[in-house]
Amino acid sequence: MKYIDEFRDGDTARLLAGLIHKEVSPDRNYRLMEFCGGHTHAIFRFGIVDLMPENVRFVHGPGCPVCVLPAGRIEAAIRLAESSDIILCTYADLMRVPAGKKDSLHKARARGADIRMIYSATDALAIAQANPERQVVFFAIGFETTTPPTAAVIRIAAAMALTNFTVFCNHVLTPPAMAHILASGEASIDGILGPSHVSTIIGSQAYADCCAQYRMPLVIAGFEPVDVIQSTLLLIRQINEGIHRVENQYTRAVSASGNRKAKALMDEIFELRPRFEWRGLGELPDSALAIRHTYAAFDAEKRFHMAPVTTTDIKGCICPAVLRGVSNPDECKLFGTVCTPEEPKGACMVSSEGACAAYYSYGRFRAEVTS
């Protein structure tokens, strides 16, 4: 597969890892946050940790869309789906994420709610067209990568003057979350592996202010294992030189200004939400998107007068600390005992790129396997 296989070459990976071993300073630690779950997934799936010197540690960040979605938003969607005769469409990733009281979309569907998994945002539109007598709500989640497709279908729905299609918008923004983590300083990190496909949309410049303000080295990294290792090397070089800048390893897909057309489309359909709650990070100002007033007819929160729902976190679950890069999954008392991929208690155990699921699937026995 072109542009995939070249970046999964084990020999290249080992050579780059060799340079890392040569260049790290033995008398310090390197705590590097991989912001995205995609990087977490690659680090575990390909065994990248095994290639790293002991003093290079990966700290997992909040870049997993289903992990940072607060349970209350899922609960709100479930209530909507169960209270009226609507069809709720969502990406499959969200189906098993725990809402409040041991509930999930999966369980709500089993109880009879009409919840449908879709692959593309356009599928939700197609379902609306095929069911003109019913209301269809698209439960939209994701960072800047997934937002333009949602914007695109809202614009199409407007052009077609559809009256039975709305979007429950939960799109969130990467730079504010990154700024929040750096401002708190509790993760005590030395550098950041920056997002791949989020950056494809928003461009590498989007992180400039944040990096400058917190004097933080950042390398935008592709999701393939060789990309991750090369970016780690670039990050270690910045740290060794005592410099901090936004560097772009993923040049084949990321430009300085990003995808202008996609950004313009997002801007046409969405506006900043003054505040939005993130699981783990709490309420962050200007960190999420809402549908603009011009397109209010397609806003499920407005059409169905959806009230905010608050839920209490699962007792003992340290997902919030994991999402802030403060704790590792295996420090959680629930990890691997009451919280497993089969019976997830916290969101990080659900998505295959959630830090807990990655630890469980690939990392749980890593030490024993390699010993």
């Binding site: 597969m1 995939i4 999964r8 070459d9 084990g10 990976a13 080992r14 779950g37 995609g38 575990f44 799936r45 390909f46 065994g47 990248i48 095994d50 290639l51 997993c64 869309p65 289903v66 990406y91 499959a92 990733d93 189906m95 098993r96 999966h106 998994m117 879709i118 692959y119 593309s120 599928d123 197609a126 994701g142 997934t146 294992p225 497993t340 991929p341 089969e342 998505s351 295959s352 790129e353 469980y360 699937s361 690939y362 749980r364 026995f365 890593r366 024993e368 396997v369 390699t370």
Partner: protein, 341 residues
């Protein structure tokens, strides 16, 4: 009584009532196509002579969406699947039974198509459907058609194949490309449609098994990696036998297209379903001879040794990745769903 209208008609409640409408459907559809002396007798059961040796019985409920997919349909699948479950004991399959649960309103044309496909699979494999049953459920209470097939077979003397017999050091053989069935099903599933030349690998494996036990009567385990894929089957065998497994990603036969589909949808080919493949665990000294024999069978041309059984109390399946790292190949949690992140 007229025959049902197989062009435009649909299943009605009366087709399952046990009355004359039921009888006509059975005669004009099932008995006509499955055509064999035992079924022709028209009893509620089939009587046959018991042969010597150990007998096996297995049953399998088939629900599949969509009902028709590239390379097969629920009918052929329900014949192959059950024959394979019999064959995985090292047995020669003898007879099948079939129970149909039909949903009111299901087009008779589609039902006929399924039954013809089932009859063809039965004829081609030489295993007759000798008894059956039909029930109809109200519209909305079924998904078109569900088919349960039961198979009976006999194990030749001296053959002892079971999931608990794997021993450290044994070779793990896989009979061919993984993930074809899962990919074919996904490609035709509503909302996911993608173009591919991949077809389901649905096939009956009893002749392959017969050839295998002829050259390697010491085979310890056989299992077909259906739902849950290769990863699930290896984990089942490891747990049943109280051993671990070590496999090499590079040795696992995988078509480029299946890999492409998995990359696109965020799926792992190790968990993709197969309907015409088997995993075989055999002592090392027989592995080479067995593999050579398998390569001569049309259903195992790409057979490969993909790893070996290890001694491991935790019953882990570990894989050396193509990239060079090691990872645990775990049980599948929930169902494998396409992901966007």
């Amino acid at each position: 009584m007229n025959n049902p209208d197989f062009k435009h008609g649909v299943i009605e409640m009366a087709h399952g009532s046990g009355g004359r409408t039921s009888a006509t459907l059975i005669e004009s559809l099932f008995v006509r196509h499955f055509d064999n002396p035992l079924l022709q007798q028209g009893n509620d059961q089939a009587a046959f002579a018991v042969t010597s040796g150990r007998m096996v019985i297995t049953t399998d409920a088939h629900v599949v969406s969509p009902l028709f997919f590239p390379g097969g349909d629920i009918g052929s699948l329900s014949v192959h699947g059950t024959i394979n479950d019999v064959a995985m004991a090292g047995a020669q399959p003898l007879y099948l039974s079939a129970a149909f649960i039909l949903e009111e309103g299901f087009p008779l044309a589609e039902l006929e198509r399924i039954v013809i496909s089932m009859a063809r699979a039965s004829r081609e494999t030489g295993i007759p459907v000798v008894t059956g049953d039909t029930k109809v459920v109200e519209r909305g209470k079924g998904d078109g058609v569900f088919i349960t097939t039961t198979g009976i077979g006999v194990i030749p003397d001296g053959i002892h194949i079971s999931g608990h017999l794997a021993r450290p050091g044994d070779a793990i053989i896989l009979s061919g490309y993984i993930g074809d069935h899962g990919t074919a099903i996904l490609s035709s599933r509503e909302g996911l449609e993608f173009g591919t030349t991949i077809t389901s690998d649905s096939a009956a494996l009893h002749t392959l098994v017969a050839a295998m036990i002829e050259v390697a009567p010491d085979i310890r385990c056989l299992r077909d990696p259906t739902r849950g894929g290769l990863a699930t089957t290896l984990n089942e065998l490891a747990r049943q036998s109280g051993v671990g497994m070590h496999i090499e990603e590079a040795a696992i036969p995988l078509r480029a297209e299946v890999r492409g589909a998995c990359e696109l949808l965020g799926l792992d080919p190790l968990y993709m379903a197969n309907e015409g493949k088997l995993v075989c665990i055999v002592p090392q000294q027989s592995a080479g001879r067995l593999l050579a024999r398998m390569h001569h069978h049309p259903l195992a041309r790409q057979a490969a040794i993909i790893g070996h059984v290890t001694s491991d109390e935790r019953n882990l399946v570990v894989m050396q990745t193509g990239f060079g790292g090691m990872r645990v190949v775990d049980w599948l949690a929930g169902e494998q769903l396409p992901r966007i992140c």
